[in-house]
Amino acid sequence: MAQKTQEVGFVTSVNNFLIHLNGLPSVRINDLIESDNGIRAWVNALLPDSVEALVLDEGKSQPGQLFRSTGQKITTPSGQFLLGRAINPLGVPIDGKILPKESSKTSADFDRSAPGIKFRQTINEQLQTGIILVDSLIPIGKGQRELVIGDPRSGKIDFLIDVIINQKNTGVICIYASIGKPIAEVRSLIDTLRTNQALPYTIIVAASSSDPAPLIFLTPQTAFALAEYFQTQGKDILVILDDLGIHAKIYREIALLGDRAPGRESYPGDIFYQHAHLLERAGNFNPMAGGGSITALPVIDTNLNDFTGFIPTNIMAMTDGHLLFRSALFNQGQRPAIDLSLSVSRVGQQTQNRVQNSLATRVKQILAEAAQLETVSSFSFELPYATRLTLNQRDAIEEMIKQPPLTRLPRELQIILLALPLTNLFQDKDKSFARLNHGRIIELLSTEPELINLVREATQLSSEDQLLSVLQQYTPYIASLLQPTATTRANSSHMKMSNTSATIQKVT
């Protein structure tokens, strides 16, 4: 039933999903307009003689078609009922279930401007990802923006899924924005999260590659709108934007259709603004803004490890650090396949406690030294003791920071694992010792009563030296519980055999 008086506009030109309309005198940007056959469009620009709108639904528009103003801005329903659900950027469920009735009562604004400096506070709490490499050496704080960048199939998605799963029982709400990914990937992600009981505190906002481009473009805004809704209630939110490269390409498509002047790599001039004003909405907020924090992990897929492209460097400039994933490391079996030397977290250090911080510094020093010594060591057979020690420690550290997917290491355990290579436990032992016993060490630290106490007290120590001196006392006990490697096993079995033969001789 049509309303008696409405604002209307008539389509004057159609260019794929971009339409220009005549009329709609008092419409504003981000308003929603709708045609008689149910096609919705979102007002993108107000030109002197026409209104530019982007069609959000599938369906053809024709010149002369009538569009009515709905009087509403683009919004998405928001509320607790969205936890555990998968929706598209307009709030329509895509997981086969309907939204409850109260979904129409609350809605979140898409394009809120980021809160100013007086609503923010210093990032002082660490986001525990449960992954030793990140939590110890490249820590992420709650409210930080950390770029996840790397080649396709370098383990970025597995890492992100682990981070989400490891937020169980921490009170952190996770929002995963799947921007233009194939629908099969979205389904597989939902299944993985459901299997690992991670859905109850996760919202998935997904626009698949088959959806109209304007809908894909809106995905990160929906994610942030929902994040802000929960953040104002004092909650900590983790927003993952996978991936912003596709978002940039979609925006380029929209801008080129809309006759915007192309800039570098044909991206429009305001591509930096599009991403920056989105990522600015992340941060750690003080009680004036509702408390809570929004941590953003934007993702970029690079081409052949080239992270010097336009969009990757843009995003690197607007984030507080990046985690660089390498497919070469992934193929060598390192999980997560993060290149430590090229990854950085500019804000995370201040969230770690003193012990972890100094331990991480020391470990990084050793790794850096070992990298330098590696080239020297390949030239000579006889290496000085100090060099061998450093290389040994490096090998042990590399084994200790490997972590299989879908596992979680608590912070205290991470501190001990990272400190162990600095004791004499791995001295004079080859690399296979650390690799063979890595799992056993974790098991011992989690189950042996004496070691459990040690682990519990790890964070309460005041310095790294104190920690190491305490650990040295436990290393003989730990060593006695570990498996020898193949070489030492062969040696010890040889000794056993010679002992047995001696006994036999004695009896005869």
Partner: protein, 168 residues
């Protein structure tokens, strides 16, 4: 000939933007033919596609009209006239049926009595209106059709039907 005069001439005959543009194109073709002496083998021209009325109007134009154009000013005059006509915002009338051309002219003339000689209408068909009309003027749409009336009074209609049912 000034563009304004040309617009007056065109709008004297046409009441909708589409027909105004068609008349303009016809006239431009005729004037171009006259000025540049095109041969008859110039392909399918606008004149051949025009309606009887349009042909009559074109044929009955005074000859001295064509003398008021010259080769230099032709393009300019017609372009500005076209812009003028395009800049006129028409009243969009939604009807339940298609009006014949004579009625369009009557309706157009009727409206020009109140709104001036440069007033244009654009007609669209929406059978759901049943009868009457709906208008869209400067982006505002208002429905005065029978369908809207039924929607507005549906309670009363239902009451009447209810009474009728009880009587039976």
């Amino acid at each position: 000939m000034t563009p304004e005069e040309l617009v007056d001439l065109i709008l004297h005959e046409s009441f909708t933007p589409t027909s105004a543009m068609r008349y303009l194109r016809l006239l431009k073709e005729r004037v171009s033919d006259k000025l540049f002496q095109a041969t008859e083998e110039a392909g399918q021209s606008e004149y051949q596609l025009a309606s009887v009325r349009e042909k009559q109007w074109l044929d009955n134009l005074p000859i001295d009209l064509f003398n008021r154009f010259n080769q230099n000013s032709l393009h300019n005059i017609f372009t500005r006239a076209e812009e003028n006509i395009k800049s006129i915002q028409p009243l969009i009338i939604f009807l339940a049926f298609e009006l014949p051309e004579t009625e369009i002219s009557t309706l157009g003339a009727y409206l020009r009595q109140d709104f001036g000689s440069h007033f244009l209408i654009e007609l669209r068909i929406n059978p759901y209106l049943i009868a009457g009309a709906a208008f869209s003027w400067k982006g505002i749409y208002k429905d005065y059709s029978l369908q809207q009336k039924i929607s507005d009074n549906h309670q009363a209609i239902l009451k009447v039907l209810e009474e009728y049912r009880h009587k039976k």
